[in-house]
Structures are given as structure tokens and as C-alpha cells.
């Protein structure tokens, strides 16, 4: 189990107009794994979803997802990495939360697996939680991660923080 977490960088949306995406570039290859913590909300959209791109593309991804609302659970597959976050119609000033863990991200000989644990919250109603297991089918080292709302801009005060983890 890795025992070293180092904050690499963080992004915060400061404009009331929101932002199209939060983008980490030139991620150093000096760690073993990556962890991203996202606290997000859609500015105008109601999809309740963020998407994660790897190295600037949304392709070569395959996920298996389990999603629950408290009333029902569903599971399925996806070709993009989706993250439950708060939509603009949810309780004001409330943000979703997510952890994205990417193992062995700097490898140039293997595909990359990741897990996503995310939740949206709407004052006790219509909240969702999503657990995803994903695979990025590329041997390229991951040096860029991009997060954007699946509909419209990301709202002001949303944040994403990237951590590097070195094996113990």
C-alpha cells in the first residue's frame, strides 16, 4: 500500500462564468500512481456528470459502472469515464465529490486501470453514487488529465486536486 501522497497541483474555477474544463498538463512521470479529488458542479447543465479525458482524448476507454440512487441500483458499461457531480438544478452551493485513482500511470508498456468513486447530492433527494472500474487501452504514459462537465460549463468554486503517490 503506498504511503506517500504528494500534492502535484490544483485547479479552482474562479470566474462566475465557469470554465469549460479543468486541465492538468505535463504531469511528471516520477510517481507510482495518481489520485485526483474533484469537487464539482455544473454551471447550467443538468446531466449530473463530469467526464475525464486522458492525454487529451476521450477514446480507448472502457468502464464497468455501478450506480445507485438510494431507491434503485443500475449497472452497465461505458466508453467514456463518467463522474457523478452536482447539476445546476441541485441544491444551491452544493458540490459533488469524487476520487479518481489511476495505477501505474507512467508505464509505457501496459494499459492503465483506474477506479472512480463519485457522488452527487441534492439535499437528500435525487442523489447518486457511482463506482466505476475503467481501463485506458494505451501504452502511452499518462501526462494529461482533463475534467469537464458533460453539459455546459463547470461552475465557479469547483476544484480538482492532483496527487502523486510513490510506492512505499
Amino acid at each position: 500500500m503506498p504511503n506517500t501522497y504528494t500534492k502535484i497541483a490544483s485547479v479552482s474555477v474562479s470566474s462566475a462564468l465557469g470554465a469549460a474544463s479543468m486541465d492538468f498538463t505535463s504531469i511528471p512521470a516520477t510517481y507510482t500512481d495518481l489520485l485526483v479529488k474533484v469537487s464539482g458542479r455544473e454551471l447550467t447543465g443538468v446531466s449530473l456528470l463530469f467526464t475525464m479525458q486522458i492525454n487529451g482524448v476521450a477514446t480507448n476507454q472502457a468502464t464497468r459502472e455501478l450506480r445507485g440512487s438510494g431507491a434503485a441500483a443500475t449497472s452497465g458499461t461505458n466508453t467514456i469515464a463518467t463522474i457523478d457531480q452536482n447539476g445546476s438544478g441541485t441544491t444551491a452551493s452544493v458540490f459533488g465529490s469524487a476520487d479518481i485513482y489511476i495505477s501505474n500511470y507512467a508505464s509505457t508498456t501496459t494499459y492503465k486501470s483506474y477506479s472512480i468513486d463519485s457522488a452527487s447530492e441534492n439535499n437528500g433527494a435525487s442523489a447518486y453514487m457511482r463506482l466505476s472500474a475503467g481501463l485506458w487501452s494505451s501504452n502511452s504514459a499518462i501526462n494529461q488529465l482533463t475534467f469537464y462537465a458533460s453539459s455546459g460549463n463547470i461552475a465557479q468554486y469547483s476544484t480538482a486536486t492532483l496527487y502523486g503517490i510513490v510506492k512505499s
Binding site: 502535484i8 497541483a9 490544483s10 485547479v11 474555477v13 462564468l17 465557469g18 470554465a19 469549460a20 474544463s21 479543468m22 486541465d23 492538468f24 498538463t25 505535463s26 504531469i27 511528471p28 447543465g45 446531466s47 449530473l48 456528470l49 467526464t51 476521450a58 450506480r67 440512487s69 431507491a71 434503485a72 441500483a73 443500475t74 452497465g76 461505458n78 466508453t79 467514456i80 463518467t82 482533463t146 469537464y148 458533460s150 453539459s151 455546459g152 460549463n153 492532483l162
Partner: protein, 72 residues
């Protein structure tokens, strides 16, 4: 005003705001369509399961709490 992406360079720590390219705008629209489709399918699936559950409970003449007791 075009939408902007916030980019942080992890090597230098430099933060910049850059307008989306036409390709990125198109990709964004396609992703939004895909996300809306996936959400609609998930919502429909959940609603169908909830309806089926309610119908089954009514058919059995028991409450959801009683069904949970049986399955526990």
C-alpha cells in the same frame, strides 16, 4: 465570449485560461449528447425496476420492509 479551459502545467505550476478550439467545441457537443443518452437509459432502467418491484410487492401482498425481512 468563447468558453475557456483552465490549464495548469504540473511541471511549472503555471495556470492559464485558453479558449476552446472548434474541434474541442464539437467534441464537447458529442460528449454531451452521449452523456444525455446514457443518463436517460440509466434513469429509464431504474424507473422500470422500481415499477416492477412495486408491482411484485403488490402481487405478493407484502410491503417493501416485509420483503427486506424475507431476504435478510
Amino acid at each position: 465570449m468563447a468558453d475557456k479551459k483552465i490549464i495548469v502545467n504540473c511541471e511549472t505550476g503555471e495556470v492559464s485560461e485558453v479558449e476552446l478550439t472548434a474541434e474541442e467545441v464539437a467534441q464537447r457537443a458529442a460528449d454531451a449528447t452521449e452523456a444525455a443518452k446514457a443518463k436517460a437509459e440509466a434513469d429509464a432502467d431504474a424507473a422500470a425496476k422500481a415499477t416492477a418491484k412495486t408491482a411484485l410487492l403488490a402481487k405478493l401482498g407484502i410491503s417493501a420492509e416485509e420483503a427486506a425481512l424475507l431476504l435478510g
